[in-house]
């Protein structure tokens, strides 16, 4: 069975299927929301009717959360050491022991309304990267919808940088193509095919020799990115059955961004670092790399859904009957933290971005459908992956609410009889003490975050740096407001079939804006 030939391979939502498949897919779309709302409503129900059971559940859950926090922090510290080491490694020396000169890098840079400065900094970092630039092929991919301003940026970039690379094309993504959802996925899929024809085929480059890096336009790579990527590709167990994931640091504008934005961004980085130590749980996210041969076999990224960055991994996993993985590079790329002209606009953008990322739960029905239809993937692998994915989205949406809000419900709803029990008195004590212990991990987070900061710009004082550690007291607030609630929001939309479209995060860097230059 070639799963790629099935009607479900590139499905984006239930409405694209028919009959029982549609009904089944629709049910799977509801599963994350049912689990989340079942937990929230179940806690409220239990707190009112069975407060003792609810109290037990909350205490056991808090204990689980404490131990999970410690367990994950071990992974975080480990990947921190590995990432720091990766930044210090002489990748040129490592590569000198393998044959790599045949490899090319195809860098796809989609953009929408971002400013010239943002595009410029991204491309400039590619110029400054170590390695043979004649082996770097650039595809600048503006959206036709933006019109002349985007084209002007492309032309200016081409004039300044094109001659420095082995190839440079501008692929303007047409607007309003039937069947496509406007967004990054449809753009980079178009750009990849454009590059295949106008770069790879024209230059007679073997698809097997090309590594595709699909970057968000605010991505600024570190100097040895291409060397690190090549080394991991060449030493991977199954290089064409692997994607390659760098660690996203949100350092481009970290000193200008408000504390809430920094904490949210840092939390995202930490989560990716933790996952880098658990590659069996890692999926592709945001800026990532994949061999062009593999990408071509998969028919590129999906054009009909929001989370194309993670979906390409699931496409591959199902297409290759479970024989696909993500290789952790443990090497960073730098991107933008959320920053808007006003504080409240920043908060709004953070929320919307987190909600879009939480909408990755749209992969759950795709995965479950694929596991039902693809009989060639081992059952144990299906169960493990399904559990990990469902638990992950459930945790995101419910855990902060359970810990910081719902934990008090038995005391409020349990009634006078329950409130006279030792259990009701111990519940807040135990909950508080477990959470205080868990919060010690924030000290570690603060130290790691500090160590990964770029140099402090001129005009900033030591108190700004100290606040980079103190800001982590905001975590109880951010994981609820910018973690759980967007998660619930996204899953609820999927639950009721109110599908989301792609939302472009506006990019700002201290005085710059994403409006057209």
């Amino acid at each position: 069975m070639d799963y790629r030939q099935t009607p479900y391979f590139k499905v984006g939502r239930a409405t694209e299927l028919e009959g029982n498949d549609r009904r089944l897919y629709r049910f799977f779309e509801m599963v994350p929301g049912i689990l989340t709302w079942g937990t929230i409503l179940g806690t409220i129900f239990l707190s009112y009717f069975f407060p003792v059971i609810a109290a037990f559940f909350i205490i056991v859950f808090d204990l689980y959360w404490l131990l999970k926090t410690i367990y994950l922090s071990i992974h975080l510290r480990q990947n921190w050491r590995r990432t720091v080491h990766s930044l210090e490694v002489d990748w040129s020396d490592l590569l000198s022991h393998v044959k790599y000169e045949h490899l090319y890098h195809l860098v796809i840079l989609p953009y929408y309304s971002e400013s010239y400065d943002i595009v410029h900094k991204c491309v400039e970092s590619l110029v400054n990267a170590n390695g043979d630039h004649k082996k770097i092929l650039i595809v600048l991919a503006p959206e036709e919808k933006i019109g002349a301003p985007a084209q002007e940026i492309a032309k200016k970039i081409e004039e300044k940088f094109a001659h420095l690379f082995g190839g440079f094309v501008i692929s303007t993504h047409p607007f309003g193509v039937p069947g496509e959802m406007a967004g990054k996925g449809s753009n980079i899929a178009y750009a990849a095919e454009y590059a295949r024809i106008h770069l790879l085929d024209e230059k007679n480059i073997s698809y097997k020799d090309v590594l595709v890096s699909a970057f968000d336009i605010d991505t600024v790579i570190y100097k040895d990115y291409f060397l690190c990527l090549m080394w991991h590709f060449l030493t991977a167990e199954k290089p064409y059955r692997s994607s390659y994931q760098p660690v996203p640091f949100y350092n481009n504008n970290i000193w200008e961004a408000p504390a809430l934005s920094r904490v949210v961004a840092g939390s995202g980085t930490f989560w990716q670092m933790i996952q880098q130590e658990r590659p069996e749980k890692l999926t592709t996210f945001s800026s990532h790399a994949i061999p062009f041969q593999t990408l071509y076999e998969l028919g590129y990224w999906q054009k009909n859904m929001v989370s194309e960055d993670s979906r390409i991994f699931w496409n591959a996993l199902l297409a290759f009957n479970g024989d696909y993985r993500v290789v952790s590079l443990s090497y960073p790329v730098s991107m933008d933290a959320n920053l808007a002209p006003t504080f409240f606009e920043t908060l709004k953008n953070i929320y919307k971005q987190q909600r879009r990322w939480a909408y990755g739960s749209e992969n759950v029905p795709y995965i479950l459908m694929g596991f039902v239809k693809n009989k060639l993937i081992p059952l144990r692998k299906k169960i493990t992956i399904a559990f990990v994915q469902l638990e992950g989205y459930w945790s995101l949406a419910t855990n902060p609410l359970l810990i910081f809000l719902l934990g008090w419900l038995p005391l409020i709803l349990g009634g006078h009889r329950f409130n006279q029990t030792v259990l009701s008195y111990n519940l807040p004590f135990i909950t508080r003490n477990l959470m205080v212990l868990a919060m010690f991990g924030l000290v570690v987070s603060g130290i790691i975050f500090w160590s990964l900061l770029p140099d402090m710009p001129q005009g900033y004082r030591m108190r700004h740096k100290i606040f980079m550690i103190v800001q982590w007291v905001l975590v109880p607030f951010t994981i609820v407001i910018f973690g759980a609630i967007p998660g619930v929001d996204a899953q609820t939309r999927l639950l009721f079939g109110k599908y989301m479209g792609f939302w472009v995060t506006p990019k700002h860097r201290g005085g710059e804006s994403s409006t057209q230059s």
Binding site: F56, L67, Y71, E277, H416, Q420, T421, V422, L423, Y425
Partner: protein
Amino acid sequence: MSSKVRKGYFVFFILLFLVLIPVVIFYSLGYNISLDKKFSFFKTGGISIYPSEPGVIVSLNGKEEGRTSIFEHSVLIKSLSPGQYNVSVTKDGYRQWDKTITVLEEKVSEGFPLLLPQNLTPILLSGTSTASSTELTNSYNEAIALFTPPTPVKKIKIPSTETATATPESLGITNHKVLLYKDDGVIKVRWLGKMEEIPYFFCFLVSEGNTCNASFIAYKAKDLRDISFFPGRNDVVIFSAGNAVSVVELDRRAPEFFMALYKGKMPDFRIGKDDVLYIKDDGLLYKIDLS
């Protein structure tokens, strides 16, 4: 980390979780280990005292168990073997509050001490206005306004669940659904809300659980005149009877807290703003600050 090391961590934490679950659950239920009885488990209870102000010392059977502060306005004493305990609440300059509280397995008994200053000296009020007694003059004016003409008190009619005993004079006052009224020289209390929400002083903790009565007799007094709730409390009553204005707790656990705030001839009282008690006795006006 190698896959083997990660699996090792995973298994370790799973095992730790499974081991800690019963420990935490039993602890939360109030179980304790008896060192005297060969490490056997026994159920405990607790006492929670709510002085609601800082600087209060709570003692159990003569031993200090906790103090309140600006951050912590209550004291919880846990891991108590079931039985009776003498609780004392003290604060410098205040009258000691004592109560014998019964502790049951897996239950927390509560106490809400009434802290009154040891020296509650009534201040005589007069109508003379001088630069140094403007405050007293204001108090005097407030007292006059409260006593004459008779201040209408918000009263409600007692629900007629009793036959014959309710008289037209039996109109009471309420505070958070606790009805306080006088009936033929007797101060009575009735709970008007749901039984599930009944306050502690309507109940006695017994071995089978709570025994709660929705109404009871709070105090019997000769020549009972005015009654009112103590400011900010629905479990303490101020009343005037005989030659005194007194305060009594509705918490019937021994020893009962009773204190005469003022003794004179035939005083009456009103409660003014800011928890000030005004007393009128033999044509003179006094005030006592209860805050």
